[in-house]
């Protein structure tokens, strides 16, 4: 599944300072859908080059990291249960820095 992932608020530093990533995520065998939970695991393995604890805590994002799927708060679509479609845009923004 082709997706566009964006990292902001300082998170890009964990991915070699690249803010936008166009990725192709393989679905798990036998599954038709890709959930945010799967995507997060994929991101941690494939995109996060350092300090994964800055991005994730357990199965989900670190508290203080906002997630938007197609410019909508993922809290509206079920957080980790959110299902993703082809060409979706997922944005991760960290709020954990000075103002």
């Amino acid at each position: 599944m082709h997706l566009t992932l964006e990292f902001g608020g300082g998170l890009e530093l964990l991915c070699d300072s690249v803010k936008i990533h166009n990725v192709d995520v393989e679905l798990k065998k036998g599954l038709e859908k890709l959930t945010m939970k799967d995507l997060l695991a994929w991101v941690r393995t494939n995109l996060i080059k350092e300090r994964p604890e800055m991005f994730m805590k357990g199965d989900t994002v670190r508290p203080g990291v906002l997630v938007l799927v197609n410019d909508c708060d993922w809290e509206l679509s079920g957080q980790l249960e959110t299902t993703l479609q082809e060409k979706d845009v997922v944005v991760f923004i960290s709020t954990l820095h000075g103002g």
Binding site: G10, R62, G64, D73, L76, S77, G78, T95, G98
Partner: protein, 358 residues
């Protein structure tokens, strides 16, 4: 209608709870409402306007400096203040005031953002630097004191720097972008450190009215998440990196805890602030009295203000001066070991203040 119970509701089948027309873009942590972008802008701006008016933060004709660091809070603050000033005719003369602490790789980049803000929002900018004011940059200070207590030095110096910048600009007030999350963290921090004096002051929306320049926090009830969402949707230009010295700060623990709390119960943040506002200090607790610093005339509860004590320490090669617990002579249980460690501090600091220097 029964079928409706079997089909799972997706976000797209719900509409904004305010206008009932558009698709919701976010869930407000404060109210758990699902709200669309346009309505979000409206409630966000309106709530801040109500905080400003309800707390009578400004008077028409005042000159107001906005503490601007180039970060998310101060950028959104500058944007919203100029917008509301225009829309509701506050009649304020707005300025941007920035502090250059001399932290390479952090402050030099964020100052570029403020310079852009100056142009984008049409607000005149003044930058004051630690080097100019104190003769030391934070980088130089950290080389001398090591990686502990950095925030103590920086915070103390920054407060004075802002006051001096504000005096230079001849402004009547200073506004800062401290948000609800920050204030909740501060309440917790003060409880954890037993700092009763600060606990009683830290939730005030306006502070320092009896000092050189009063300062207020229009974002006191605004959630950090909403500030970031607002900036994201409006595509506001801000700089976002953690200060390189911050990983060692104690505040980090309070922040982690607050963020975990927010996840479980988002209202916890405003509730903590409310608890903080309702604390009443027992009259038998000894509280610091306010006077002036003998060396520089700044307000101080001790003989010398904190900035002077810290500077003296730096200039004399005593980086621990003003850091660490100082037990006063009133305290009968004066710890001998502590008094020896603090050595010279005894001669400069007089009254026991009741606060822990971290």
């Amino acid at each position: 209608m029964e079928e409706g119970n079997k089909i799972p509701k997706s976000a797209s089948s719900r509409l904004c709870c305010r206008c009932n027309e558009r698709k919701p873009a976010l869930k407000r942590p404060k109210t758990l409402e699902q709200i669309c972008r346009k309505c979000f802008y409206e409630v966000f701006e309106e709530e801040i306007h109500q905080v400003i008016v309800g707390n009578q933060l400004f008077k028409a004709g005042e000159r107001v400096a906005i503490g601007a660091s180039g970060g998310k809070d101060s950028t959104v603050l500058a944007y919203v203040m100029s917008e509301l000033n225009r829309r509701h005719n506050y009649g304020l003369d707005l300025f941007l005031l920035s502090v250059d602490e001399g932290i390479t790789g952090y402050r030099d980049d964020s100052l570029e953002t403020v310079k852009r803000n100056e142009v984008q929002y049409g607000l005149p900018l003044k930058i004051v630097s630690y080097k100019e004011l104190y003769g030391w940059t934070m980088d130089e200070i950290v080389k001398v004191i090591g990686l502990k207590n950095n925030c103590t030095f920086c915070g103390v110096f920054r407060r004075q720097a802002l006051d001096r910048g504000a005096a230079y600009l001849k402004v009547d007030k200073l506004v800062t972008g401290h948000n609800a999350d920050d204030i909740a963290e501060t309440v917790l921090l003060n409880i954890l450190r037993g700092d009763v004096a600060r606990l009683s002051r830290c939730t005030s929306i306006t502070t320092g009215e009896d000092g050189p320049i009063p300062r207020c926090k229009p974002f006191k009830y605004t959630y950090e998440k909403e500030i970031v969402m607002y900036a994201y949707f409006k595509k506001l230009d801000y700089f976002s990196t953690e200060c390189i010295y911050s990983p060692n700060a104690y505040r980090g623990f309070a922040r982690e805890f607050i963020k975990d709390l927010e996840r479980i119960r988002p209202r916890a943040i405003v509730d903590i602030i409310k608890s903080g506002e309702n604390f009443r200090i027992s009259t038998s607790t000894k509280m610091p009295e306010q006077g002036t610093c003998e060396r520089c005339g700044y307000i101080s509860s001790q003989k010398w203000c904190k900035a002077c004590v810290l500077l003296e320490g730096l200039n004399r090669g005593l980086p621990k001066l003003g850091i660490g617990r100082s037990r006063g002579l009133e305290n009968g249980n004066g710890n001998r070991k502590d008094m020896e460690q603090n050595g010279d501090v005894r001669s400069i600091e007089s009254k026991q203040c009741g606060s822990l220097d971290f």
